[in-house]
């Protein structure tokens, strides 16, 4: 019995050496929840984007770590007409798809048209480029009939043309209105170039007007491109499950075969498992949820924590004020009046908002949550985006100022009567929870009649509640779809942006500047207007922007060539790295 036990142990231990990832394999462990789809017109999540950006390519892509400089990818050159309405791209010659087909204009044309034909409501094609190329973005494939009434196939077809024929190397994209963000938007994975012959041969849309109606709003997760790919990227998909995605190098890649032969992206729920894998060398890079957990890997042999003060984030998280609270059946507003609750227009008073802004300890938050590694944000957009106004003050904890504003609010009634409401955050988001609790504690300290309860809701409930405009104050955020301030300024401050449905925000001074910035293309003029919006943010305090944590990456030391572009789903492309 003993000898069998020893033999067994020997066999078990003897094979453990296979565990570590080899020099030609890169293992990336990230959070659970794999890609939603590998079809570019359906994918709008990070996990899908991470695969797609390595398997497919766009005409131009981000240049290294830059978010406002673009490098040629499938196109080598482009020109813009004087009126900003026509973009002409010269395609790279002899670029092979994974199928062996060679890329030409017809593939670019097909890719863009397919995106607008399907108009997937859960994708990004119409959302991001509908205005520019179709003249609208309000209607999509969720209402196929309405979409076809609003958008004709002719409109779609005329938005992109092949002046030198389908097999030519010139692509012409015709905009209906100039858009300074066009190059940034086309770099998004939704505009990846698909192998049209491969797609058509496998039952996808045949590219003709006769069949386009069948594909409007179609659920493409039931179609071939959902889990089959033929891109021009440096990697091909070997296997995709909700546990892992396995990529292998495309030897005929136009930019030269990559150094890393195999990539395994594993979706691992348990953070402690991910950390152990990094320490053991079974993973080359892992995602760690927050700075507080970095202490578990600091000093681990073979592990590097990459940080750079120049690195910026592309997500912004504010605590929002609801300017017009829906009081109906709302347990978060108390009695719906000052004293025992809050009225619907509580946050419509600018003095209330300013007062609240002075209840939040910005630096204390950084010290407590980010271990001192963070940055104050002056306005609702990433620091690296055009028009970010770094010269604007940030309202922070100042109880004297807060008291002054609260005494002025509602003609003094707020200070006299006090208020009570519940602030909301989602699930187990400790960042948002802490921010709201800081505000709540300081409010109670300032005036015992200021009562703020802080409550969490599951994600689905949270979206529902904020969507119904019932949350008086809530913490949420936004991550960049493309590297242009419009993506944030409209979202946060516009009376028709994503958050206006949740906050009823309507500030004419800001709206005027937003509308003007959206109508011009000159970057200097736009920058001036956005900076003015930054000044107005300070003055009008429409929300409290939470500081951003200094970004970091946790990788094995053997990995070389890592850079960080926050606009990429994976922050870098696998083709650009190698291992010792």
């Amino acid at each position: 019995m003993k000898k069998y036990l020893l033999l067994f142990l020997g066999l078990v231990l003897g094979t453990f050496g296979l565990a570590q990832s080899g020099s030609d394999t890169f293992v990336h462990q990230t959070l659970a929840g794999g890609p939603v789809s590998l079809d570019p017109v359906r994918a709008y999540d990070t996990a899908s984007g991470h695969v797609i950006e390595n398997v497919y390519e766009t005409l131009y892509t981000y240049d290294g770590e830059s978010i406002d400089q673009f490098a040629p990818a499938l196109a080598t050159d482009y020109s813009v007409s004087d009126d900003g309405l026509v973009y002409t791209f010269t395609l790279r010659e002899n670029v092979p798809f994974h199928s062996g087909n060679i890329m030409s204009c017809k593939d670019v044309e097909y890719s863009y048209e397919y995106g607008f034909v399907n108009a997937n409501p859960e994708g990004a094609n119409v959302y991001l480029m509908g205005d520019q190329l179709l003249g609208q973005h309000d209607v999509d494939g969720s209402d196929a009939a309405a979409y076809q009434e609003t958008v004709s196939f002719e409109t779609i077809a005329s938005s992109i043309e092949c002046p030198d024929g389908p097999d030519g190397l010139t692509v012409q994209i015709n905009l209906q209105a100039p858009d300074p963000a066009f190059l940034a938007i086309q770099a998004y994975t939704a505009f990846s170039v698909i192998d049209s012959e491969f797609a058509k041969a496998n039952g996808m849309w045949d590219g003709t007007e006769e069949t386009w109606a069948d594909w409007v709003g179609r659920d493409v997760t039931q179609e071939f491109l959902h889990n089959n790919t033929s891109g021009t990227g440096a990697y091909q998909v070997v296997e995709w499950t909700d546990q892992q995605t396995i990529l292998s190098a495309f030897e005929d890649y136009w930019g030269g075969a990559p150094a890393i032969q195999n990539v395994v992206i594993q979706y691992v729920e348990e953070q402690s498992s991910r950390i152990l894998a990094l320490q053991q060398g079974d993973a080359d890079r892992v995602i760690i949820n927050d700075r507080a957990s970095l202490v578990q890997v600091e000093g681990s042999p073979g592990v590097s924590i990459l940080e750079n003060p120049e690195w910026g984030a592309t997500c912004v998280s504010p605590a929002f004020f609801n300017f017009d609270i829906n009081l109906e059946n709302n347990e978060d507003v108390g009695c719906g009046e000052l004293g025992c609750g809050v009225p619907a227009d509580f946050f419509a008073d600018v003095n209330v908002r300013r007062g609240f802004a002075h209840l939040f300890d910005q630096q204390g938050f950084i010290d407590q949550l980010y271990d001192g590694q963070g940055r104050l944000i002056t306005m609702g957009q990433p620091t690296s985006f055009l028009g970010y106004n770094e010269n604007v003050d940030v309202r922070t904890l100042d109880l004297e100022q807060a008291e002054q504003y609260f005494r002025e609010a509602f003609g003094g009634e707020v200070w006299e009567q006090g208020f009570e409401f519940t602030a909301l955050y989602n699930g187990s988001n400790t960042i948002r929870q802490t921010a709201l609790e800081i505000i709540a504690e300081n409010a109670a300290f300032l005036n015992p009649n200021f009562k703020i309860n802080v409550r969490s809701l599951p994600w689905a409930d949270y979206l529902a509640r904020t969507g119904e405009q019932k949350a008086p104050m809530f913490a949420l955020g936004w991550c960049a779809d493309y590297a242009d301030p419009k993506n944030f300024i409209d979202t946060f401050y516009s009376n028709s942006g994503f958050y206006s449905a949740r906050t009823a925000i309507d500030l004419p001074e800001m709206q005027e500047r937003i509308d003007e910035a959206n109508s011009i293309t000159d970057p200097l003029e736009r920058e001036f207007l956005y900076k003015e919006i930054g000044n107005l943010h300070y003055d009008l305090a429409p929300m409290v922007i939470l500081p951003e944590s200094a970004p970091f990456m946790t990788v094995r030391e053997e990995v070389q060539g890592i850079y960080r572009n926050p606009m990429m789903s994976g922050q870098f492309l696998f083709k650009d790295i190698s291992k010792n």
């Binding site: 078990v12 453990f16 959302y127 999509d140 546990q243 594993q266």
Partner: protein, 341 residues
């Protein structure tokens, strides 16, 4: 017996409708907006919830939604899982073999260790062996699975760099994905032997060790307690006294007479244990990143993945009904007093 089996199998459609209807009605407690919001994992994705409600018919009356699902099921389609981004049936087919493999490998130590310790405790009543075994059982039963699992991971994987989580090592994962490895059963250990790949067999086996130890520690404690008390009960019966009086060896008395009867309640528990294992062990699979049903079903529930939850409920109903039937049949085999008409 045949009539008994047929009667029990008739329960299957009843259970199917009962469970699935219950889930559908429970989901209606959530507003269409709440159910649509589960499709959006980020704020950016939440921009189009009205369209999602429209697209997936979340505003339709519950009976229409249920009817639509039943129609799909009648065509062999359990719907699409947003959690796994593929049809529910495909996910069940993919995730069942790993769960079954874990269940089979865990089941034998659970039963074996439980019966062995329970027997030892009963036969050495009130001795040190009995006390120690009972303490072991209490500790095992009280230990939360996630605590034990993480401890084992930290000690063996973190400390010694062996027995890593997952189902198989990265190199073999890539090799299997590339082809050249035939899947016969979906059970990696069996398939690797059938493919003549002892190296993959050992690798897959190693990956099972810690999850199996985690499961066995907790579940065998229960078996052990039940075995001990039922064997003590059997040892106190007249027929055991008679067997001893006839001069039979103590070993024969214990094994052939007492233990056989003592096993009856253990069989029930073993059946439920196996059913529970086959339905997936959420925490163990999550800690060890084992791609089984438990991990998927838990995520599906959190995601309000309607189709996945219903599909898993159907699967569970089938397993429970058939599992209970097998347990009842085994009763009849073990205890001749039990006969079914």
């Amino acid at each position: 017996m045949f009539a008994f089996i047929v009667r029990r199998l008739f329960m299957l459609p009843l259970v199917f409708f009962g469970v699935t209807l219950f889930i559908v009605l429970l989901m209606q407690v959530l507003s269409p907006f709440q159910r649509a919001a589960s499709y959006a994992q980020t704020e950016n994705q939440a921009r189009n919830l009205d369209a999602i409600i429209e697209r997936y018919g979340l505003n339709d009356p519950w009976y229409m939604q249920y009817g639509r699902w039943l129609r799909q099921v009648s065509q062999g389609n359990l719907g699409y899982s947003r959690t796994s981004s593929e049809p529910v049936l495909t996910t069940l087919r993919k995730r069942f073999p790993p769960t079954a493999e874990l269940a089979i490998f865990a089941f034998f130590p659970i039963i074996g260790v439980g019966i062995w310790l329970g027997t030892a405790a009963a036969l050495n009543r009130d001795t040190l062996i009995d006390q120690a075994t009972r303490v072991l059982a209490i500790v095992g039963w009280s230990l939360p699975t996630f605590v034990l699992g993480i401890w084992l991971l930290v000690i063996f994987y973190g400390g010694f760099g062996i027995l890593e989580p997952g189902r198989v090592s990265t190199d073999f994962l890539i090799e299997i994905a590339r082809g050249g490895f035939k899947n016969y059963t979906g059970l990696l250990t069996i398939d690797s032997l059938l493919n003549g790949r002892l190296d993959i067999f050992w690798d897959a086996f190693k990956h099972l060790i810690l999850p199996v130890i985690t499961l066995a520690t907790v579940s065998s404690a229960q078996i052990m307690r039940v075995m001990r008390s039922s064997l003590l009960d059997a040892l106190g019966q007249d027929y055991v006294r008679t067997a001893r009086a006839k001069g039979l060896a103590e070993r024969t008395v214990n094994r052939k007479h007492a233990r056989r009867n003592g096993l009856i309640p253990v069989i029930t528990l073993a059946g439920f244990t196996l059913i529970g294992l086959i339905n997936g062990v959420i925490i163990t699979e999550t800690i060890f990143n084992f791609p089984g049903l438990g991990q998927w079903s838990a995520q599906a529930a959190v995601n309000l993945d309607y189709a996945a939850v219903l599909g898993f409920a159907v699967f569970t109903a089938v397993i429970v009904v058939i599992g209970n039937l097998i347990v009842d049949i085994l009763y009849g085999v073990i205890d001749p007093r039990i006969r079914y008409d």
